[in-house]
Subunit: 603 residues, 2 copies
C-alpha cells in the first residue's frame, strides 16, 4: 500500500511515529508562514501541516501548488496538535509532512465536495463519482453494505442458501412491462430481464432447496415516476414446508435483526392488521403506524362492491349514521362520511383550516372539500357545518371520535374508496404537522389477508393483486366462482413507517389450482401453458407447500438511513427518464449491431 | 414449520421422541407385512417404517399408495434400528410412523433422482428442478453458496465494500459483443448488459471507495462453445493506493482463505511466472503446474516477431541448436524444435506412440507430426529420427532434457508459436496419462507481465490483450511508439490447475495515458470521447492510482468441486445454444411489445 495508515486512524498514541497517508485535499489554509491541509479519504480527515523554518522550503512551495481534490501521498511525523479539534476522531494530532508526492492533480470540481453541496441534482448525477466522495453519500453506501451483510448473516444462520437465478429469462405478459434482450443466435427471439426471480425460486422449492434467498437485481420497464428505478434490488426469499405464520415470524426476525445489528435499535414486535382493517382505519394498505389517528366513520353506506362488501361485513356492528337527515346534502348523498381527530388542533386559524382544505382539493388528492369541527377548550363547537348540525349532534360526533376539548375533527365524505384514500393523505399531513412522523422512530406492521384479485376497469378483467402464484385462502376458494373479488389471499406485506418494504404470499403448489387461477386471470389454457407450462408441470412432480417474501432493498436501506429517496442509496442510479447521464445511456448502437440482431428501428 | 426435524437430523439420542418429518419419497420397499420408506430432504435421508400389527392398517394402506417423489409429512416415534446402516448419519434410527399426510403426489420422474442418474443431459436440463434434487447437484450449489460466503467474509474483513453497479449500462465497441436492451422510453436507443463492471469500479476508486468488491453477474453475447455461458458470475474487485504487489498478496490471500475455509486445505503459496516464461516453458499462459514436464528447446531460431523477440531476449543465454545440419529437413527448416520428457515412458509400444502422433495431428491440435526418442533402461536410444541422428547426438538431447534411462522424449518442430501451443496440448495429455493431474491436488500460479497489446491479423490493428484500461509498465512506455507489441502491461492472471481463474491489472489513472492508449487501439479521439469520455473526465478530478482483479466465480466453484464443467455449478444454466430449455427462452414476444419498442424484426 502507498499508505501506512488511513486518514481516520491516527490518535495521540501515534505521536512521534513516521507514517504515510494518501488521500484527497479537502481544504487548504495558507497563513503565509504556515500551511494546513485537511487530507480526506474514505476513513476520515487528518490535518497535515507545513511550517516555515520547520518544513523544507521546497516542500512548502510544492504544497502551495496543491488544489482542492488533488490526490497526494504525504509522509511525516505524527505530532500532538496545539489546538485540538474534538469534532474529528483524529483531531488530537496532525502530520508534520517531510515528503510529499502528488499522485494526481484535479481540476476544480463542478460542485463542492462537502456534506451540504452546492451542486444541483442534475450536476451531481452527471459527476456521480464526485458526488460519491461526499460523506453523507458515502455513508449511505456503507450502510447499504452493512444491511446486505447482516441480511446474509441472519439468513445464513437459519440455513437459507443463496442461489443465483438467471437474468436472461422469458418474457411473460402478467405483471409490469418486461425489458427484453434480442437474441442474436436466435433471430426474432428475445430474452427478458426478470421482474423478480419468482418462478425460479418456486422451482428451487420443488427441487428441495427448502430455504432460499438472494439479494438480486430486478427490472421493470415502467413509465418512470420520481424515485422509481428501472433496475432495483430485492432481498428475495422462499421457504418450503411452512405455514404463513412461519414466514411472518422468520422475516419479522430478519427486520428486527437488521435494526439491532445495523442501528442498535430493539424494534418492538411487528404488529399485525388485516387489509380490510388497514383500508377501513387508515385508507391505505400501508398505514404509517408511528401514530394512531385512526379513521372514524360517521356514516357508512357502502354498496356491496366486493371489497367494500367484505369490509362492511366484518365491521357491520360498528356501522352508524350520525349525519343523515339534516339537510346537509354533501353528507346525505355520500356513501361514506369519515374523519380523523387531530389532537390539540382546535385553535387552528381560519387560514390554517383553509390550507388543509386547499391541500385535499389539490388534484393529487382530489377531494371536493373538507368539513372541520373545532372542539374548543371551553367545550363549545365551531364547525363549517354549524348551519346543519346542532351542538348536541356535534357532541355525538365528538364522542365517536373520542375527541376531547382542544381537538380538531376533520371530516370528508363521498365515494367510500376515494374518500378513504383522500383522508389517508390528510392523515399523513396532520401526522407530519404534529411531529408524529419522526424519521428516527420506527413502526413495523404486517398487513395480512390481501384480496386475491382486483378488478381492472380498463381491461375489464380481474388481475392478481400480488401475482398469479399466490394461493387463495382455503375457505374462500368457493367464492372464486361466485364472487372472485371477495376471495382473500394468503398474502402479506410488511410496512415500515408507512412504506411497503416487503410483500409475499403462500404459493399455489398444485397444478389444478394454478390452472384455475390462470383461467380466472383470463389466460386461455394454451397461453398459460406457453408461459408457465414448466411451472405447472413442476407441480406434478412432487411440489412441497411453500411461500416466500421479497423486500425492496433500496427502500429498506433508505428508511434505515432516514431518507425518503432510494436514489441516495444506489451507487449509480438512473434519473426520472431512466437515463444515466454520467455514462450517457441509453444510447444508439451501431448499424452492425442492429444487423447482427436482425432488427430494424422503426423510422 | 410442518416438520419438527429434518431428514438428516435424527440420532440415537432422539429415540422415543415423537417427531414430524417432511420430504420426498426416495425409495419404497414393500415386504408385505412391513414397509420401509426412505424419506429425503435437503439435509439427508431417514427411514420410515410401517409394520403390520404395529402400525394402524389404514396407515399401511395409505403408505402403499405412495410413489417415488411423493411429498409427505410423517409423524411417528423414533426407534432404534435392528440392522443399522452406517452409511447414513441417521442410520441408527428409523421412524415408526403414526400419522401420514400426503402433501403432494408426483408423476414418475423422467429420470431417476439418484447420485448417478439415467437421464441424459438434455432431459436433465429440461427438468432441471428434478435434476437439482440429486445429491451431487445440490452439493455443488451448496458449495457455491459456501464459496460466496467465504469470499465475502475474507473481503469484508479487509474493509472491502460491496457496491452494486448497474446492469443497464452502455454498449461499447471494445471487447466481446454486448447484449443490448432496447429502451421504450427513448426509442431507437439501447442499454447494454455489462461484460464486467470495469468502468464503474474504476469510478468508485475515483470516488474514494478505495476497496470495492462485488459478486456480480456479467454478460457476453459470444458464439457459444461448450461450457461457455452467456451470463456468468464474477468476483469483481478493485483497490486504490496500491502497487501490483499489494493486489497479488491480497488475492493470493483470498484463494488461500477459500481453500482453508471451504476445503480445509492449506494451499502452498502461489508461485509466480512471467508470461514470457509461461509461453516458453509451457506453451500456454495458463500452465498446469501440478506437474513439471517443462518444455526443453533443442533449437530456437525465432524471428523478431514482437512477442517472440521478447521471449528470446530474455532467454537468449539458453538458446541452443542441437538439431541442425544433419539433413533432417523438418528440424532444419523449423523455427523451433522443442519437446517434453515423459518420465518412465520409454517402453511405450509402437501403438501407444502412434496414438500420441494421432493426437497431435488432430485438427484441434494441428501438428504435422511428432518425433519420439526412447531412452531405454539399458541406456540405448530408439527414436523416429535414428536415420538422422547418432546415439551421441541423442545423448546430448537427453542431457538437455535431463532425461534418465526409462524416459521418453517427445519433440515437435515448426513455427514457434504454433508448435508451443501444440506441445502444450501434448504435455497436458501426458500429464493426464501419468496421473499427474489429480483433481484433488491444487496448484495455483500468478502469471505476470502480460503483453499490453496483441496484433490482430483480421482487423490489422493492435487490440488490448486485457482491456484498454490496463497500464503499460512504466519502463516500456517509450516502446508504445516504436514497438507496441513489445510493451508489457501491469497485468496478471491467476491460474489454478491449468485454468485461468482470475485476471486483472494496475489501471491507467491519468487522462493523457488513457487517451494515448485509445489512439493505439485505433479509436479516434471523438470515438474515445463518445464511449469513454466520462472515465477520462473522471481522471481529471483527482483519480488515485488503482488496480484490481476479477475471478470467474463459476469456474472457481467448478475447480473447487473437482469438476471440469461450470454448468454443474449454476442452478439454471443455458445450453450450448444459449437456450434455457426448461422455461423455453429465448422466445418470441408480442407484436404489442415490438411496437412499443419501435422495432421491426427483419424478415
Amino acid at each position: 500500500m502507498l499508505r501506512t495508515h488511513t486518514c481516520g486512524e491516527l490518535r495521540i498514541s501515534h505521536v512521534n511515529q513516521t507514517v504515510t497517508l494518501t488521500g484527497w485535499v479537502q481544504r487548504l489554509r495558507d497563513k503565509g508562514s504556515i500551511l494546513w491541509i485537511d487530507l480526506r479519504d474514505r476513513y476520515g480527515i487528518t490535518q497535515l501541516v507545513f511550517e516555515e523554518g520547520k518544513t523544507d522550503s521546497a516542500l512548502i512551495l510544492l504544497a502551495k501548488t496543491l488544489g482542492r481534490e488533488f490526490v497526494i501521498e504525504a509522509e511525516g511525523l505524527v505530532a500532538e496538535r496545539l489546538s485540538k479539534n474534538d469534532k474529528l476522531p483524529t483531531g488530537d494530532v496532525e502530520l508534520r509532512v517531510t515528503k510529499l508526492n502528488i499522485l494526481n492533480s484535479a481540476k476544480v470540481p463542478p460542485f463542492t465536495i462537502e456534506d451540504e453541496s452546492d451542486g444541483g441534482d442534475e450536476l451531481r448525477m452527471k459527476y456521480r463519482y464526485l458526488d460519491l466522495r461526499r460523506t453523507p453519500v458515502r455513508e449511505n453506501l456503507l450502510l447499504r453494505h452493512k444491511m446486505a451483510r447482516q441480511t446474509r448473516a441472519y439468513l445464513d444462520s437459519l440455513n437459507f442458501v443463496e442461489v443465483e437465478t438467471p437474468v436472461l429469462i422469458k418474457s411473460t405478459p402478467e405483471g409490469a412491462r418486461d425489458f427484453v434482450v434480442p437474441s442474436r443466435i436466435h433471430p426474432g427471439e428475445f430474452y427478458a430481464l426478470p421482474q423478480s426471480p419468482q418462478t425460479f425460486k418456486q422451482l428451487l422449492m420443488v427441487s428441495g432447496f427448502d430455504r432460499y434467498y438472494q439479494i438480486v437485481r430486478c427490472f421493470r420497464d415502467e413509465d418512470l415516476r420520481a424515485d422509481r428505478q428501472p433496475e432495483f434490488t430485492q432481498i428475495d426469499c422462499e421457504m418450503a414446508f411452512v405455514t404463513q405464520e412461519d414466514i411472518l415470524n422468520t422475516f419479522e426476525g430478519l427486520v428486527r435483526h437488521l435494526f439491532k445489528a445495523v442501528k442498535g435499535i430493539e424494534l418492538s414486535s411487528v404488529s399485525r392488521m388485516t387489509y380490510a382493517d388497514a383500508m377501513k382505519f387508515y385508507g391505505s394498505d400501508k398505514p404509517d403506524t408511528r401514530f394512531e389517528m385512526k379513521f372514524v366513520e360517521l356514516k357508512n353506506n357502502t354498496p356491496s362492491s366486493p371489497l367494500e362488501g367484505r369490509v362492511r361485513e366484518v365491521f357491520s356492528s360498528r356501522v352508524l349514521d350520525l349525519t343523515s337527515g339534516k339537510n346537509f346534502n354533501v353528507f346525505d348523498s355520500a356513501e361514506l362520511v369519515v374523519g380523523i381527530c387531530a389532537k390539540g388542533c382546535a385553535e387552528y386559524t381560519r387560514k390554517q383550516l383553509d390550507e388543509l382544505t386547499d391541500f385535499v382539493k389539490r388534484p393529487q388528492v382530489g377531494a371536493k372539500g373538507l368539513v372541520y369541527v373545532q372542539y374548543r377548550s371551553d367545550g363549545t363547537f365551531k364547525s363549517s357545518v354549524d348551519k346543519f348540525y346542532t351542538a348536541d349532534e356535534l357532541k355525538k360526533w365528538a364522542e365517536a371520535f373520542q375527541a376531547q376539548p382542544g381537538d380538531l375533527m376533520l371530516i370528508m365524505a363521498g365515494d367510500a374508496t376515494a374518500t378513504r384514500k383522500q383522508l389517508n393523505e390528510l392523515r399523513l399531513l396532520m401526522g407530519e404537522k404534529l411531529g408524529l412522523r419522526d424519521k428516527n422512530k420506527f413502526a413495523a406492521l404486517w398487513v395480512l389477508d390481501f384480496p386475491l384479485l382486483e378488478w381492472n376497469e380498463e381491461t375489464k378483467r380481474y388481475h392478481a393483486m400480488h401475482h398469479p402464484f399466490t394461493s387463495p385462502k382455503q375457505e374462500d376458494i368457493p367464492l372464486l366462482e361466485t364472487e372472485p373479488g371477495k376471495v382473500r389471499a394468503n398474502a402479506y406485506d410488511m410496512v415500515l413507517n408507512g412504506s411497503e418494504i416487503g410483500g409475499g404470499s403462500i404459493r399455489i403448489h398444485d397444478r389444478a389450482t394454478q390452472q384455475l387461477m390462470f383461467r380466472k386471470l383470463g389466460f386461455t389454457d394454451e397461453e398459460a401453458k406457453k408461459q408457465f407450462g414448466f411451472l405447472m408441470e413442476a407441480f406434478e412432480y412432487g411440489a412441497p407447500p411453500h411461500g416466500g417474501i421479497a423486500f425492496g432493498f433500496d427502500r429498506l436501506c433508505a428508511l434505515f438511513g432516514g431518507s425518503d429517496s432510494i436514489r441516495d442509496f444506489i451507487a449509480f442510479p438512473k434519473n426520472n427518464a431512466g437515463r444515466d447521464t454520467m455514462i450517457d445511456t441509453p444510447s444508439t448502437i451501431s448499424e452492425e449491431q442492429l444487423k447482427e440482431l436482425g432488427l430494424i428501428i422503426k423510422p
